[in-house]
């Protein structure tokens, strides 16, 4: 029997501070026993032996030869992860969760809406969509942060912005010296960009405040709830739907999520 | 007598609800098991007939006072519960103006488990002292120390040494005491019913729940269980009103009262302090005085 609690070993190939405030650290990890198959939107549990495990969305795309995670320093395990240097061994369990329904998205327009450091799995999704560009119609990205230094993967964002097969709209909350993109909160920019909901799916990840104010805009743009997806976060332990804590109604965020469509969430207790 | 008390409690509860002196009254209703009363929360004056009073009203209702920060609360208290209120006031956890206290002198509460064992489901008419909860046997404050309304005749307070059990226990050898503590602690399943039943265990974050620093490991290794009980007791030193709610709440029947009682006795002997009498007096371990005894310094 495969033991789902046992992590796989790997090594940190690269590690750097992602944001200028040094609260976010990105790790590129290579597993000792080859590549991991996964779907964008899935997550892994990273172990620091002696400290514990924490779940992180996979920020790399399946086509990349490393696993990327961007870790926000908030607690005990994440602080320990921030201390890890390149070439350190790490332990990983995954892939866990359901991931974005990329097959359902085929042949459709895709709108990605994100704020702050919630962009991680959306990077994975965006690269996946670009890897299979002919399968999808228009791709629009609206991504904002408090200030430019808090946008994730800034160099890549600039590269993508240059492409003509994807519409990238970057925003910061307030005027910032040298900033060329949009200025304003994500909901406002989304309304301004006003992507068509026709034949389209919308994927949204961001802090609770952004989600709260973006939802009415999404409704205004006529996206039906079943075509809006979001990825949820909850305190997790086992990651395989057994330990009980991350449920929302009868669904476990770790196993049946973290990706949920809005119409499913609307019927469940607001326990997230 | 008891009927008169119930009648008075209901009348007074109705009055203070109707006159909007309070928004809610915390009292007891009939429980669903033999020898059981259960906490009840009355907001509608028409519901006051649910309120009862008998010798099974052992819960310390003061534990609920902090659950209603925006409400004016009426509460029915025994001697020990009233001391909890005073202790919480001394620690600035409650505002006296927001609480209306209905006091009832208490002859001691009867131990459900002892009664079940002795009489099964058929309650006796006459009950002897031996069926009292241990905390009630040693009780020094049967009469509420603070109240707005009192019903029932004051009960004669005990005059003798209040800690005969602790005095006896202190006579045991160190090994005997340690063994006893180990046996009791080993029964613990860490459900924290003792903590949750205690009005004084109000920390926003309990030391067992933090992970940085992590004071003790999870699980039921004996040393971890002992650390839990020792630190819990120490955090109560001189703050514990000796109501016994912790011991009665324990589903595993762990004898934990003697730990806090020993510390209470020490605080009494060292600092001449007793908690829950004067709301202006802060517990000695919660304050600093230049005149603190420092006999441990050489």
């Amino acid at each position: 029997m495969n033991n789902p609690y046992i992590p796989m070993s790997g090594k940190i190939k690269k590690a750097w501070f992602e944001s200028t405030d040094r609260s976010l650290r990105t790790l590129d990890i290579v597993l000792d026993n080859g590549k991991m198959d996964f779907i964008p939107g899935q997550f892994c549990e990273i172990s620091i032996m002696g400290k514990g495990e924490s779940p992180f969305g996979i920020a790399s795309a399946p086509s990349e030869d490393f696993l990327r995670f961007t870790v926000n320093k908030t607690g005990y395990v994440t602080a320990a992860i921030h201390w890890l240097e390149e070439e350190t061994p790490v332990w990983i369990r995954g892939p866990l969760g359901n991931g974005y329904p990329v097959e359902k998205f085929e042949g459709k327009n895709i709108v990605i809406v994100s704020g702050g450091f919630a962009f991680t799995t959306l990077r994975s999704l965006l690269i996946y969509l670009l890897d299979h560009r002919d399968k999808y119609k228009d791709i629009t990205v609206v991504y904002g942060a408090r200030e430019p230094g808090l946008l994730l993967y800034r160099e890549e964002l600039q590269e993508w912005a240059k492409r003509d097969d994807v519409n990238i709209h970057l925003a910061v909350d307030a005027e910032f010296e040298g900033w060329q993109g949009h200025v304003g909160f994500v909901p406002t920019i989304l309304e301004k960009v006003s992507p068509s909901s026709e034949d389209a799916y919308l994927v949204m990840c961001g802090p609770p405040a952004m989600i709260k104010f973006t939802l009415p805009v999404i409704k205004k743009l006529n996206f039906p709830s079943e075509k809006v997806y979001t990825s949820l976060e909850r305190r997790m332990k086992c990651g395989i739907g057994k330990c009980g804590r991350c449920n929302i109604g009868p669904y476990y965020v770790c196993k049946d999520g973290p990706v949920f469509s809005l119409d499913v969430l609307e019927k469940l207790p607001k326990e997230y | 007598m008891a009927d008169k008390i119930v009648e008075n409690i209901r009348k007074e509860a109705k009055r203070i609800l109707e006159e909007k002196i309070v928004d809610i009254v915390i009292g007891f209703e009939k429980g669903t098991l033999p020898y059981t009363a259960s906490p009840v929360f009355i907001e509608n004056p028409d519901d006051v007939d649910k309120l009862i009073w008998n010798r099974y009203c052992h819960n310390n209702l003061a534990v609920y006072l902090r659950n209603f920060p925006d409400k004016k609360i009426g509460i029915i208290v025994k001697g020990c519960d009233s001391r909890s209120i005073v202790a919480l006031m001394a620690e600035k956890q409650l505002t006296r103006e927001n609480i209306y206290i209905i006091g009832v002198p208490c002859e001691g509460m009867l131990d459900k488990n002892k009664l079940l064992e002795e009489f099964g489901d058929n309650p006796p008419i006459e009950v002897k002292e031996e069926f009292l909860y241990p905390s009630c046997q040693y009780c020094e404050h049967k009469n509420p120390v603070i109240y707005d309304f009192l019903t029932g005749e004051p009960v004669q307070e005990k005059e003798e040494e209040p800690y005969p059990d602790v005095v006896e226990f202190e006579k045991k050898t160190l090994d005997e005491r340690w063994k006893y503590f180990q046996e009791e602690a080993s029964k613990c399943i860490r459900c924290y019913a003792c903590r949750q039943a205690c009005p004084m265990c109000y920390c926003e974050e309990c030391f067992v729940d933090t992970n940085s620093p992590k004071w003790l490991d999870p699980g039921i290794d004996l040393p971890d269980l002992q650390v839990w009980h020792i630190i819990r007791a120490y955090h109560q030193a001189g703050r514990c009103v000796d109501c016994g709610a912790c011991e009665r709440a324990c589903p595993m029947d762990i004898k934990i009262l003697w730990l806090t009682r020993k510390l209470n006795k020490d605080v009494r002997d060292l600092f001449e302090f007793e908690i829950g009498i004067d709301p202006e007096k802060v517990p000695p371990l919660g304050t600093f005085s230049l005149y603190d005894k420092e006999e441990f310094l050489i």
Binding site: R234, G244, R245 | D209, D217
Partner: protein, 322 residues
């Protein structure tokens, strides 16, 4: 049905202790025995339930030392003697969470597949029993490998080959003894609340004010969940032991505030009414949704041991009245 002499059964059980880890009622609680003389009941059912055999309160998932992960091996065989039918059913319910197709839990399954459950019928159920609410009963045999019925000097016994073969050579003809009346008497003594349709009903009661009402007196300790035979929630933590680390699984409870507390400080179930809702919903709505069975077996432990007399039967009745 067969008949088995009590004395001879216990002799055999004593012999089996060589090959099996035997658990039985030991006074107040259920525990491992070294000799059948330890078997003793202080009440109809034990306080700490048999779930501890398959889901111990604390166990190592693996140890970690110098880059090496070691998983503890377990080849023990278990006999659970004298568990009550409700607790046998509880184990069948635990199976649904741990023995799943997608992520079978090896620790649980290793112990479970090597276990024999011998249930004992409840001739005189307790006042807190309400197993009949969930289609089970004091004489229910289907969730155990065998059911024994106490008849004084002997037991009546029925069960599968696995269980009965333990007592090879000891089983006698039951002489046509009828237990129907005994069974009916036991069943009739149980006063169960009506639960029919509660699962569907709860689906529309997420925001009902009832949760505030039924949770007010709850002091949010974990006594109900730790003593519950079907509650399985656990935590995983790393512990430093001697010269190595251990990743441990330990019981946890949805009644605790920290259970869902996130590192950011956000807590989706901060309010106790939400935690009470979770406990009730999990048993009476989520479990039926996922597994077509209620997650409560009506053992009554949560009622009996609650420090403030929160009575789940009363909560059920209130829900049904809404």
């Amino acid at each position: 049905m067969k008949k088995i002499d009590k004395k001879r059964l216990f002799e055999r059980l004593n012999n089996l202790i060589k090959d099996y880890v035997v658990y039985a009622p030991k006074g107040k609680d259920f525990g491992k025995i070294e000799d059948t003389s330890e078997i003793k009941r202080e009440s109809i059912n034990v306080r700490l339930s048999p779930k501890q055999v398959f889901l111990p309160q604390e166990e190592a998932l693996f140890t970690f030392k110098q880059g090496d992960i070691k998983v503890p091996e377990n080849n023990e065989k278990y006999i659970l003697f004298g568990i009550r039918p409700c607790d046998a059913k509880a184990i069948a319910l635990l199976d649904k969470n741990f023995d799943t197709k997608d992520f079978p839990d090896p620790y649980y399954i290793d112990r479970r597949k090597n276990s024999i459950l011998i249930a004992e019928a409840c001739i005189e159920p307790e006042s807190t029993c309400f197993c009949t609410a969930f289609g089970s009963g004091p004489f229910e045999s289907k969730d155990a490998d065998a059911l024994i019925i106490d008849r004084g000097d002997y037991y009546l016994i029925d069960g599968n080959e696995k269980a009965l073969s333990l007592f090879d050579g000891l089983l006698e003809d039951d002489g046509g003894e009828k237990i129907l009346e005994l069974k009916k008497k036991a069943e009739d003594s149980i006063k169960s609340p009506v639960v029919e349709g509660i699962d569907k009903k709860l689906s529309s009661m997420i925001d009902d004010p009832i949760w505030d009402e039924v949770s007010r007196k709850c002091i949010t300790c974990g006594a109900c969940t730790y003593l519950c035979p079907t509650c399985y929630c656990f935590d995983i933590q790393d512990v430093g032991k001697d010269d190595k680390y251990m990743r441990e699984r330990v019981w946890d409870s949805c009644m605790f505030t920290v259970y869902t507390l996130e590192a950011s400080g956000h807590n989706p179930r901060k309010e106790k009414e939400k935690r009470m809702r979770q406990r009730v919903m999990h048993k009476f709505n989520y479990y039926p949704f996922l597994y077509d069975e209620y997650g409560c077996v009506g053992c009554g432990r949560c009622i009996k041991y609650c420090p403030v007399n929160v009575d789940i039967r009363k909560i059920i009745t209130k829900i049904m009245e809404v």
